[in-house]
């Protein structure tokens, strides 16, 4: 299992690709917002948490189709399916390595980008915490979508359509954490809900995705 995680991380770092791409995409989306909305710092501060969340969401969507597609194409997935590793564990490790190479870097850089959007002072910590709590759900829900669409040509588009609606609850509660904190309101419920969604996906997605993979490998 650890071997699986280490291999996926080594592959992600060595082939470059997804790792830097997501970060660059996130940076560009966030930097474009002031150009589109205008330089009014009051407006920017108001929409900053939402923009940062949507940016992080779209950036982690970019590399989702790579979770299983490459292993499917070169036959590794067949071999993993008949190996002693449980396929559920393989899915969990692959989703985890996707989060470590996209969600975690996005979370770390988000406060920095918040500065560009004139995020209110007290919100930086909450932005970091909210993304830390919510972004794993993006990777795990994405792994489910990737498992369903593996083997499809141009599956990436279908994957986005399947997965984006599932991201809505995380997006609502996750961006609320920071917005409520900015307004000086209690955000414990929103934080609890975000963590709950993430934990729910950890528990459920490995089984659902493994089932989808088995069907797709037939």
């Amino acid at each position: 299992m650890i071997a699986m995680l280490r291999r996926d991380l080594a592959l992600a770092f060595r082939s470059g690709g997804g790792f830097g791409l997501s970060l660059a995409f996130f940076l560009i989306v966030v930097m474009f917002v002031p150009f589109g909305v205008g330089p009014d710092s009051g407006v920017l501060a108001r929409i900053a948490p939402g923009i940062l969340w949507i940016g992080a969401l779209l950036a982690s969507l970019l590399s989702l189709d790579r979770i299983f597609q490459l292993d499917f194409e070169d036959g590794t997935l067949d071999l993993l399916a008949v190996s002693p590793l449980p396929l559920e564990g393989v899915v969990a490790m692959k989703a985890l390595s996707h989060w470590l190479t996209t969600g975690l870097p996005l979370t770390l850089i988000a406060p920095l980008l918040g500065f560009l959007l004139n995020l209110p002072e007290g919100a930086y910590g909450w932005l970091f915490v909210s993304l830390l709590a919510g972004s794993p759900a993006f990777s795990f829900l994405g792994a489910f979508g990737a498992a369903i669409t593996v083997g499809l040509k141009r599956g990436g588009l279908l994957l986005s359509l399947l997965v984006l609606p599932l991201y809505i609850p995380t997006l609502i509660f996750g961006s609320q954490i920071t917005t409520l904190a900015v307004d000086g309101l209690d955000n414990a419920t929103a934080l609890a809900a975000t963590v709950a969604i993430s934990l729910f996906t950890f528990a459920l997605v490995p089984f659902a995705a493994a089932l989808a993979l088995r069907v797709n490998l037939r």
């Binding site: 071997a3 036959g75 067949d78 002693p84």
Partner: protein, 237 residues
């Protein structure tokens, strides 16, 4: 009684340590592969039906038949990748190692890293025998994407030796191997048989194995009728 069980528990703890691991020259148990009345499907279409055979431990079965007859489908079913339409396969897939058309090699990783990953997956400590058997020692530091097709195939096949499983399911293993390496592969297969392992090999060439039987799938071709899809039937009526 109590004393015995303590000793037993101690042995349980000691055994997994690599220090005490003895290199396995023989498979832990002799296993016959028995397939009874097996039907396999690809998509909704049953391609072969009524396949029954038995391979004794230490023997190899050569699978023959024209393109599209269902050799790969049969092998994938036996390996446990595709559920069988009906019929039984013994033993379970935990004793079966599968090597298909694709080698499952990661280009950015080196030859050594590729094999080490599979060794960890299968809990094998030493990958040197696998490297030596297929003459890969000189290539260990090479990134796998720089290998030739034949070298990749050898790397893919060497994975079989890491599985420690007694039954090998091989789908056209000699594709892109040169004559010399086909000879080496045959020798490895014979050594596998000698150690009590068995194998099914789908191939179009003559491997020149002594202890082998041949099964021609042409006799088991399923009828032309497409198996019924209840949703489609309902939609059409």
């Amino acid at each position: 009684m109590g004393h015995n069980s303590i000793v037993y528990i101690c042995i349980q703890f000691v055994q997994p340590l690599p220090l005490f691991a003895v290199p396995k020259s023989r498979y832990s148990s002799f296993m016959d592969l028995t397939v009874t009345d097996l039907s396999c499907s690809r998509g909704d279409i049953t391609v072969v039906s009524g396949v029954s055979f038995s391979i004794r431990a230490g023997h190899t079965m050569i699978l023959r038949g024209p393109n599209g007859i269902g050799k790969t489908t049969l092998l994938r079913t036996i390996a446990g990748l595709t559920p069988a339409v009906c019929g039984t396969i013994r033993p379970s897939t935990e004793d079966i190692a599968y090597a298909g058309h694709q080698d499952g090699i990661k280009g950015p990783l080196t030859v050594y890293e590729n094999l080490r990953f599979w060794a960890r997956v299968f809990g094998t400590a030493d990958i040197t025998p696998a490297l030596e058997a297929f003459d890969l020692m000189a290539l260990v530091e090479r990134p796998a994407h720089t290998l030739s097709a034949g070298q990749k195939r050898r790397l893919g096949l060497s994975r079989l030796l890491l599985t420690g499983r007694p039954i090998w399911i091989l789908d056209e293993p000699t594709v892109s191997l040169d004559t010399e390496n086909v000879g080496k592969f045959t020798a490895i297969l014979q050594r596998h048989n000698k150690n009590g392992g068995s194998a099914i090999v789908a191939t179009h060439i003559d491997l020149g194995l002594k202890q082998s039987t041949t099964l021609d799938l042409t006799a088991f071709r399923a009828g032309p009728e497409v198996s019924h899809n209840p949703f489609l039937d309902e939609a059409l009526t």
